[in-house]
């Protein structure tokens, strides 16, 4: 445990020096404030407080931004050590490869938590400031924060795995961009196309829920929208989320980080310095 912490402290320090902490936080705060400002116009919705509306739009933002930030922080994780030539020495220390990855994960998760908390928090402040009733939406905001951290953990793990597979930072960066495009953009487009072509048949009722749960980004969206009962406000693929029980999307959110880390450790074990 002490060794994981030691790795995490170094990693956090490096990320801080490389301005990753400020870049990640700045990006989240900026986007969240833009969303809050855009959503500030009176909606006239009955029974929905302003913060819950903000959380719904923050959810759509997080689906893109959190995986992107996580991949940007992690793609260098193993490949960077190989490139700098620091890996052989590190591996002669009495720390296991699992511990090395867990240390990096811990540092990156702290940064990500900081970024989403400050980002969403500032959007929430705007919402509460303009509508005192919005305080009722605080629960969904907290839920958005911890589920974002879990989503981030999944993509951090995936980033380490790609980093270990590529062994060179340039290759790892390419893999990371490809993964982001596929998981976050193309996957949903493909699902939409299928929904359109199959209409409301067996595909929408049976295959679609499975497909949504199988993608961590979609599971994250489904979880937050259905938990907030804001499904109607979301539309699109989110609209199909109503059919999925909350526990299933929650399970997907919790299982994916474990799977991603397991994958990363397996790939890292194959790297010979």
């Amino acid at each position: 445990m002490k060794r994981i912490l030691a790795i995490a402290i170094s990693e956090f320090r490096i990320a801080f020096r490389n301005r990753w902490v400020s870049i990640a936080t700045g990006m989240m705060v900026l986007f969240a404030l833009v969303l809050a400002a855009a959503g500030a116009a009176p909606t006239g919705d009955v029974g929905v407080d302003r913060l819950s509306v903000t959380v719904a739009s923050l959810t759509s933002l997080a689906v893109y931004l959190v995986p992107l930030l996580a991949l940007l922080m992690s793609f260098d994780g193993v490949a960077g050590e190989v490139e700098r030539g620091t890996l052989p020495l590190l591996l002669t220390y009495p720390v296991s490869r699992l511990h090395i990855l867990l240390g990096k994960l811990l540092a990156h998760l702290v940064i990500l938590s900081l970024a989403v908390t400050l980002g969403y928090g500032s959007a929430a402040l705007v919402a509460i400031w303009s509508d005192a009733e919005a305080i009722r939406g605080l629960g969904s905001l907290l839920r958005l924060i911890w589920s974002s951290v879990l989503l981030g953990a999944t993509f951090l793990g995936a980033g380490y795995a790609l980093s270990a597979l590529a062994r060179r930072p340039s290759g790892a960066a390419g893999f990371a961009i490809a993964l982001w495009l596929v998981a976050v953009v193309l996957y949903d487009l493909a699902l939409l196309a299928l929904i359109v072509s199959y209409g409301g048949g067996a595909f929408t009722t049976q295959a679609l829920p499975v497909a949504l749960l199988a993608n961590p980004a979609d599971a994250f969206r489904v979880f937050n929208l259905s938990a907030a009962e804001a499904v109607a406000a979301a539309g699109g693929i989110g609209g199909a989320a109503g059919a999925i029980p909350l526990w299933q999307s929650a399970a997907s959110l919790f299982v994916w980080p474990l799977a991603a880390i397991a994958l990363a450790v397996t790939a890292f074990r194959k790297v010979t310095p």
Binding site: A6, I7, I9, T92, T272, P273
Partner: protein, 299 residues
């Protein structure tokens, strides 16, 4: 007492390249061994196998009684890689605190360790601003953490100035006296000769010679050279007495003979009395002994 490091019939190939061919060696606690060999002889490969960084094809390796690379072995072994590299964004002190924590030691020792390698003034600067020799010293400092049973140092003095090299070997003497076994590689024969107990010469992946310098000198049995300066105008009578002598530039005559023939030859030269103005005996140089054992065919 069981040796700290035992290697028997170790073989390693990289595809077509045979990097190590049935290498066997042992290293006892408190002994210092120098691994010599031309570029590509297999020195770094041997070290990485001892550290468990790369797998090997056949043979046996035990480090402090354990399998190389096992976490118990790693806790006992310290390593200085060939090109020591660190994250440029960290300061020397932060980097050492990190390594101390990884070995379960108190990170507060970082500055004291840096002081042992003469880096106390630069400890608060980022490693990115260090010179090559300074980075090498950070690498040395981290090998001093704890009480390693075995030190594996890959070209530890590369990039160090002559004074630092001497300080470095003094440091090793201290560690060896406390019982640390040391395996280091080098290309500088003159420095390892005086400061290590044993020399191992690798050539094309084979261990071709092993022993103290005196052992190697005896085994190589290289000829001794004698440089004779004749008194003026007596050169012809000397060349007549020693037809095998070769005239070298400045009027000197060079004679060479096997070790065993040295004294009789000296006696014959001395018998010539006034014809000889001066005489120098030149033993085979370290380079001569080294090239006798090492063939440049491993690349």
């Amino acid at each position: 007492m069981t040796p700290t490091l035992t290697i028997s019939r170790l073989t390693k190939r990289f595809g077509e390249v045979k990097a190590l061919k049935a290498v066997s060696l042992t290293l006892e606690a408190g002994r210092r061994a120098a691994l010599l060999g031309h570029n590509g002889a297999g020195k770094s490969t041997l070290m990485k196998i001892v550290l468990g960084l790369i797998p090997y094809d056949s043979g046996d390796v035990t480090v402090c009684g354990m399998a190389p690379g096992s976490s118990a072995a790693r806790a006992q072994v310290a390593y200085l890689p060939e090109n020591a590299a660190f994250h440029p964004a960290l300061t020397g002190e932060e980097q050492l605190r990190h390594y101390l924590a990884l070995r379960g030691e108190n990170p507060k020792q970082a500055m004291a360790l840096l002081a042992r390698v003469g880096l106390e003034k630069a400890g608060h600067r980022r490693i990115g601003t260090y010179s090559k020799g300074m980075r090498q010293r950070v690498g040395l400092a981290q090998t001093l953490i704890g009480r390693p049973g075995l030190l594996v140092l890959d070209e530890p003095t590369s990039g160090l100035d002559p004074v630092s090299r001497r300080d470095f070997y003094d440091l090793l003497d201290g560690l060896a006296a406390e019982g640390t076994a040391i395996l280091l590689s080098s290309h500088v024969l003159t420095e390892v000769e005086a400061r290590t107990d044993r020399i191992l010469i690798l050539s094309g992946g084979e261990l071709v010679a092993e022993g103290t310098l005196a052992d190697l000198r005896a085994r190589a049995a290289l000829p001794v050279s004698l440089l004779v300066r004749p008194t003026s105008n007596r050169t012809p009578s000397l060349t007549a007495a020693f037809p095998q002598a070769v005239a070298s530039g400045d009027g000197l005559l060079r004679l060479s003979c096997a070790q065993a023939q040295k004294l009789p030859l000296l006696a014959r030269i001395a018998a010539l009395g006034g014809d000889v103005a001066d005489l120098d005996v030149i033993p085979p140089s370290l380079e001569d002994i080294y090239s006798h054992f090492s063939r440049r065919d491993g690349q």
